[in-house]
């Protein structure tokens, strides 16, 4: 079980007011489940994910994995805890001058597996899980994007973690490769009972993979629901962002629009001329301005 308790992460922004990337988030992720975290760019979902393994240390709040409070550990304790938390990234983050098998061995080396033969054997096992057995001596540059992500998954799995954090794991991949990678993640969850947390802006990923969904906006989790609800007839998320995310995606008006209908610049100018609303903060957590533009654009396209 992963438990985030009132986690906030603020970033200093020079002389301006600090930016709250994660704002008082509490989230319980049952052991062995797949949790999806979805939201637009800048919603704070990646920061929240990085809060789980403390790559980004929360400014306040507690992070628990099982019976361990990660936020209460010293540097050495945290390092040890991280051996049990795998992570994969949008950009794969492999070491380019190491072969596939050497990359996977790296996580074992960091986890303190000293015997080279044991490292090699366990790396080979992990690569077998993601069906990369014939390219183990290749370098990352010789692999496709999907293969690189599978190597990254093997690297994360080699230490037999309890948790796998996935930061936009398929955002750099085409739909077919995405499906393949997601299938591996689903298999790993089913076979080893690893708790998987996936951050994404692609609703398809959530629909296909997640057990539970958390929708984020402006640093907050604004709603949560079981992913099976998405398949239910008549289900509609309560927040506008949730609704948008479950909609069929981008729909454009292909008829040449007149400037009065969708003059985005005019809309933005009008809002800017009106100035900030009374008492508005420089950074507006409700995104009133964005929402107005969004609504106006939506109206214009209809």
């Amino acid at each position: 079980m992963i438990s985030l308790r009132r986690v906030s992460t603020t970033f200093a922004a020079g002389k301006k007011e600090p930016i709250a990337a994660v704002d008082d988030v509490s989230l319980e992720i049952p052991a062995g489940s797949i949790q999806g975290i979805i939201g637009f760019s800048g919603a704070g979902k990646s920061t929240l994910l990085r809060n789980i393994n403390l790559l980004e240390r929360p400014t306040s709040g507690e992070v628990w994995i099982g019976d361990t409070e990660l936020t209460g550990l010293n540097a050495e304790g945290l390092r040890r805890a991280r051996h049990q938390i795998g992570m994969i990234f949008q950009g794969f983050n492999l070491v380019n001058n190491l072969t596939v098998v050497q990359n996977v061995e790296l996580s074992l080396k960091f986890a303190g597996v000293k015997d080279p033969r044991q490292r090699r054997r366990r790396a080979a096992e992990a690569l077998e899980i993601v069906d990369i057995t014939d390219k183990t001596r290749n370098y990352p540059a010789q692999l496709s994007g999907g293969q690189k992500q599978r190597v990254a998954i093997a690297r994360a799995l080699a230490t037999k973690p309890q948790v796998l954090l996935c930061d936009e794991p398929t955002s750099a991949l085409d739909p077919f490769t995405t499906a393949t990678v997601l299938q591996y993640l689903a298999d790993i969850n089913a076979e080893f009972g690893i708790t998987v947390v996936v951050v994404t802006h692609e609703m398809e990923v959530i629909k296909a993979l997640a057990d539970n969904v958390a929708v984020m906006e402006a640093g907050r989790v604004v709603e949560q629901f079981p992913a099976t609800d998405l398949l239910r007839e008549g289900f509609s998320p309560t927040t506008s962002i949730g609704k948008y995310l479950v909609s069929d995606g981008i729909s454009l008006n292909r008829r040449k629009h007149t400037s009065s209908e969708t003059d985005f610049d005019a809309i933005v100018d009008e809002l800017d001329a009106a100035g900030p609303e009374p008492g508005a903060r420089p950074w507006d957590p409700t995104r009133a301005r964005e929402n107005k533009i969004f609504a106006a654009v939506e109206g214009g396209l209809r």
């Binding site: 790559l55 992570m87 540059a141």
Partner: protein, 224 residues
């Protein structure tokens, strides 16, 4: 061209080549040995580094800039007391090795710092997530990925300091560049100067060619 002049100068040319090899052969390995950790330190203690210590970083960075901004000739003279302390003399080849090394360390450190900065943060971030220590990240990730770039930096440093070593004549350091200046420039022995220059060109060419080959051989970022 007078072949006899060249023949007469051959022993001196030989000697000068040996002196150049001695200067470069000691200064560059020392610069790599000491400049690499300094470069890594500069990178990892920078405000956005692995272990930010902005104040001490600012101090070390300033010292590095100061040493680097000295023209080599001035440095050569300025640190004579230090040179005497280290090698016991302020003249000769050994005395030139000291300022060459002092100048080469921060030069090389800056190059290494750049080499590491250009790697990007992805693999470091992944390593932190895997629970690696800072030492492990430096040894197993940064130095591995930066190896081709660092070899390139060694090449650049060697070529630059072959040229710097020509100024060693000022303190009787010798070397092939000094030979070209002494015989070619001061004594109008064009033949000797030409031979010395050709040797320097050859030396630089060999260094650059081997360096480039080695970089290509070690760099796995692009498929061959």
């Amino acid at each position: 061209m007078n072949l006899q002049t060249i023949q007469a100068r051959l022993p001196e040319i030989n000697q000068a080549m040996l002196e150049t090899f001695a200067m470069i052969g000691v200064a560059i390995p020392l610069a790599v040995l000491l400049g690499t950790p300094l470069g890594i330190w500069l990178w990892s203690h920078a405000p956005a580094g692995l272990k930010p210590t902005p104040k001490s970083h600012a101090v070390v960075s300033t010292v590095v800039n100061m040493v680097r901004s000295f023209p080599f000739l001035i440095l050569l003279i300025a640190i004579i007391p230090f040179t005497r302390l280290i090698v016991g003399t302020s003249v000769g080849t050994a005395a030139v090795i000291v300022p060459l090394t002092i100048n080469a360390i921060p030069y090389f450190a800056r190059l290494v710092e750049q080499n590491i900065t250009q790697l990007g943060t992805g693999a470091v971030e992944a390593s932190r997530a895997m629970g690696a220590t800072r030492g492990q990240i430096i040894r197993h990730v940064l130095l591995v990925d930066a190896k081709p770039a660092i070899i390139g930096s060694i090449t650049i440093t060697t070529v630059s300091f072959i040229s710097y070593s020509a100024m060693s004549g000022l303190v009787g350091g010798g070397g092939i560049g000094d030979l070209a200046i002494r015989y070619g420039y001061y004594r109008y022995e064009t033949e000797t100067m030409v031979v010395a220059c050709v040797l320097m060109v050859l030396l630089v060419t060999v260094v650059q060619y081997s360096g480039t080959r080695l970089v290509r051989f070690t760099d796995k970022r692009v498929t061959a």
